[in-house]
C-alpha cells in the first residue's frame, strides 16, 4: 500500500525531508517505524527504541500498534512544545 508520510520540527530537519510517499507492506505504525529505521543513519538514530517521538494517522495521534489504512496521511514528530 501507499502512505503519505510527513515529518516535523527536529525530525524534518535531521531527515532533510518534510514529506514523502512510502510503499508499505506492513500493517501497523510500528511496522512503518521499523521500515524507516532500516534506512540506517539519522533514520536509525532518531527512531531508535527509547527516543521520544509521536505518530499521527490522518491527523490523530495514535499508539504504535495502530493499523495504517491505505493512502493514510502518517506524521512522525517530536513531542509537542507549543503554547
Amino acid at each position: 500500500m501507499n502512505l503519505r508520510v510527513l515529518y516535523f520540527a527536529r525530525l524534518r530537519e535531521h531527515f532533510g525531508l518534510a514529506e514523502e510517499n512510502v510503499d508499505f507492506a506492513g500493517a501497523t505504525a510500528a511496522d512503518l517505524v521499523a521500515q524507516l529505521q532500516a534506512r540506517g543513519g539519522v533514520w536509525a538514530e532518531e527512531l531508535a527504541a527509547g527516543r521520544a517521538f509521536r505518530v499521527a494517522v490522518n491527523q490523530d495521534i495514535v499508539t504504535l500498534d495502530a493499523i495504517l489504512p491505505d493512502h493514510a496521511e502518517v506524521a512522525i514528530f517530536p513531542p509537542v512544545t507549543g503554547g
Partner: protein
Amino acid sequence: MKILVQAEAFDLGAEVNAISQGHTDIGAIASFVGLARDSNEGSGVQAMTLEHYPGMTEKALAALVDEARSRWALLDVTVIHRVGRLLPGDSIVLVAVASSHRGEAFAACEYIMDALKTRAPFWKKEETPEGERWVDARVSDDAAAARWTDS
C-alpha cells in the same frame, strides 16, 4: 467558538469584547496569554520560531475545546495560537473562556492550556547565543495535563 492559527499578533481586549458583546448571561471570562520569554533553561533566547502541522493543529485544538465544553458549562471559547518567528515579549497563545460562573471558566481555561501544551502539534525552535535549538517537551507539562485525567 473561535479557533485560529495565525502569524499575526492578536488583541486580548478585542477578543474578550467579541465574546461578551451583546451577551448578558456571561458572568465570568477567564483568559490566558502566553508570551515569549528572553530566557529558557539557563540560556538567553533572542527569538523563537513556531512550526506547526497545518490541518491537524486546528483539528487538535477543536478536539480539546470540545472536551472542555463537555466537562464544564461554557458559553464561549476562543483559542488563538501564533506561528512563525517571535521575539521575547511577543504573545504566543490566547485562550479565553466564558461561563456563567467563575469556577468553570477558570477550570476550562487552564484545562485547555494544559491539553494544548501536550496535544496540539506546535514545536518551538529557539535562537540562543549558543545557536539554534529545538525546545524539548517538559515533564511538568505532562504532569499538568495528567492532573485532569487523574481527577
